[in-house]
């Protein structure tokens, strides 16, 4: 090998070179194979991660909900800590009251962060509770059809025909003004599950006629297994999307109830309550505007994420966003 260059050596190096090139080519081929082996979920994940608005929404939600969840650590003050030297003070850097204070000198920023926590609890639990309930009810109705379906769906229709806000107000008023977070969750979820039940029923109605359901029957699978093992995973797309949007809806409904004074009892702050507190002081804009903006921001972010999920989980849509 130490010999001076000969034509033979040159040729040898020429032979070696394509080999060196061939290695990355092989790697590329191997990657190509892996691409083929993606499951539908990984396609969906990829589409979701490339959905720009959804990612913006997701980051926004992580920041806002993260602050809410870690309120104890993030908030500069406790939600009920009174600082009488700063009553109705405009946003200031002095004493860290960056979003100002309310009429008894509580720090707005801290109240907003704790308010986010309340909204977050309401939104997420309503979404989980109503989705689970709607899912089970819708699955039973769509799978068994017949009289069971009729009874369930007429009840659902009945609930859907009631003017939601009026009924919510009445029920909340009947239950008294000192509602806990969980009472509010139950009240909202009790009405919200119907929409999800309808969607799930529709999907089950069409999927129960699929050949793979018949094949599962022919294999001896029972009804429960067919419903929850075979059909349910095929319905997750629309369900995940509705559940996400349910978070935003529940947060708005809670804010609405709280705004009108039928929401969560004092002193727990909630975004709707914070907005309503500012009504008495029209000149002190920060008390109303800032929690209102936070509320809007949460809902926008949730909807962005929901849209992204809808696009990502739609099996018809094979397009991957750049």
């Amino acid at each position: 090998m130490t010999e001076p260059t000969t034509p033979l050596d040159v040729r040898a190096s020429v032979v070696v070179d394509p080999m060196a090139v061939a290695v990355p080519l092989d790697l590329a081929a191997a990657e190509g194979m892996e691409l083929e082996a993606r499951s539908q979920w990984s396609y969906a994940r990829r589409r979701f991660l490339r959905h720009r608005l959804a990612m913006i929404g997701l980051v926004g939600l992580i920041i806002i909900f993260g602050a809410g969840a870690l309120a104890n650590f993030v908030a500069p003050y406790s939600f009920d800590q009174i600082d009488l030297t700063y009553v109705l003070h405009a946003p200031t850097t002095v004493g860290h009251h960056v979003f100002g204070t309310d009429e008894i000198g509580r720090d707005s920023l801290s109240r907003i962060i704790y308010g986010i926590r309340t909204s977050e609890q309401v939104g997420l639990t309503v979404a989980v509770v109503s989705t689970l309930f709607g899912l089970i009810v819708g699955a039973i109705a769509g799978y068994y059809r017949g009289w069971l379906d009729n009874v369930i769906m007429r009840i659902t229709d009945l609930i859907l025909t009631l003017p939601l806000l009026v009924v919510l107000l009445t029920v909340a008023a009947l239950l008294g003004r000192s509602s806990s977070v969980w009472t509010i969750v139950l009240i909202i979820a009790a009405f919200y599950w119907t929409g999800i039940a309808r969607i799930v029923r529709g999907v089950f109605l069409s999927l129960r006629e699929k050949e793979y359901v018949e094949a599962a029957k022919a294999v001896g699978a029972g009804d429960l297994r067919i419903m929850f093992r075979h059909i349910l995973p095929n319905t997750l797309g629309p369900i995940v999307v509705t559940a996400t949007l349910a978070v935003a809806d529940a947060i708005i409904l809670e804010a609405f109830l709280s705004f009108l004074g039928f929401g969560i009892a004092d002193p727990t702050p909630s975004l709707g309550k914070l907005v309503s507190e500012g009504q008495q002081f029209p000149q002190k804009w920060w008390i109303t505007v800032i929690p209102g903006l936070v509320l809007v921001l949460i809902v926008i972010c949730v909807n962005f994420v929901g849209d992204g999920l809808r696009d990502a989980l739609d099996p018809q849509q094979r397009r991957v966003r750049a």
Binding site: K210, A215, A216, A218, G220
Partner: protein
């Protein structure tokens, strides 16, 4: 064949209520399936061949379907009278089914191996997981899926049509059924893949000794795989017997017509001879013999219009035909009468 029948169906009738009237999809058929044999059921679309076997597994949607009469004795029990729970124990265990379209019969969101394992777990929940997993791999290997270990962890969309049908067959034989029902297992596949899947069915049968009911409208497949064959027309059995006998010397004019309409590869035929007319409506079936409006043998004789012909002995052992005038076909030889292999290339 003198052995006791594994499945014996008597006078099975299935109806569907529709807006236009009652459809008599299957109208009083009787037949036996013997252990280890392959029974072909042929007939055109709507002749009731699928419905008659779906009824056995309780897969007829009710309503609108209804099993109007009949018994189906299998291992001392009448499958048609079982409760849904008892029936479920039979399905996928003692009686298994291979469906027509492998593209839609596998659940797209579950791994193939999981779906096969599920068949085992449904019936033998106490079986340890590692044993089930290795059984799944063995089954996939048996049906000729390459790399069965890796393939079992893949989703159906990563399988080609032929591979999916192999997986369906693996699923069907997972619990070593004694009766396997294959409902047009190759209809949705292209011809080269058909041949492979048929090969798999053959192997599987040799391995498991399961009696097989093969439903098809492809006479070539019947000639290839079956021991005996039933020919169905408009919900009734019109001819039954040993494959060779029926291919060589059919004794029902419908079967004669079917065989005549097939091309024979060894001959230079310019035209095929189709059966004139079209299949009857199952709501307003022709009176008497349902085939008489299209039959070349009836020649206007009133008996064909008036009496429903019974299945009765024709020439040859176990050869039955439902035609009033099947004797007139005595001596008739189909164009496949000499080496039957020539007709199997369909």
């Amino acid at each position: 064949m003198a052995a006791e029948a594994l499945l014996s169906i008597r006078d099975l009738a299935v109806e569907f209520r529709t807006e236009d009237g009652i459809v008599h999809a299957v109208d009083g058929i009787s037949y036996d399936v013997f252990p280890g044999e392959t029974l072909g059921i042929v007939g055109e679309s709507g002749s009731g061949k699928s419905v008659s076997t779906m009824a056995l597994l309780g897969l007829i949607p009710q309503p609108p379907g209804r099993i109007a009469s009949g018994t189906a004795m299998f291992q001392g029990k009448d499958l048609l009278k079982l409760s849904p729970k008892e029936l479920r124990e039979f399905r996928g265990d003692e009686v298994a089914m291979v469906f027509q379209d492998p593209m839609t019969s596998l659940n797209p969101v579950l791994k193939v191996g999981y779906q096969i394992a599920e068949t085992i777990k449904t019936h033998y929940p106490k079986e340890p997981d590692d044993k089930v997993t290795s059984r799944v791999v063995d089954l996939l290997r048996l049906v000729g899926v390459p790399n069965p270990g890796e393939r079992s962890k893949q989703y159906p969309h990563e399988f080609s049509g032929g591979m999916r049908q192999r997986a369906m067959i693996a699923m069907a034989i997972a619990n070593s059924p004694s009766l396997l029902i294959a409902d047009e297992p190759t209809t949705a596949l292209d011809v080269t893949i058909q041949a492979q899947v048929l090969e798999v069915l053959k192997t599987v049968q040799e391995e498991t000794h399961a009696a097989t009911i093969l439903i098809t409208h492809d006479l070539g497949i019947v000639a290839e795989l079956c021991d005996r064959v039933l020919v169905m027309y408009a919900g009734r059995i019109v001819e039954a017997g040993d494959v060779l006998t029926i291919f060589r010397a059919p004794r029902h004019p419908y079967t004669v017509g079917l065989l005549d309409s097939l091309p024979k590869l060894t001959e230079d035929e310019e035209w095929l001879r189709p059966i004139p007319g079209s299949p009857p409506s199952l709501i307003n079936r022709p009176s008497g013999c349902a085939f008489h409006p299209r039959c070349f043998l009836t020649q206007g004789r009133p008996r064909c219009r008036e009496d429903v012909p019974e299945l009765r002995d024709a020439e040859g052992a176990g050869h039955l035909a439902a035609c009033h005038f099947s004797e007139e076909l005595a001596g008739h030889q189909s164009k496949f009468s000499e080496p039957v292999e020539a007709g199997s290339g369909a």
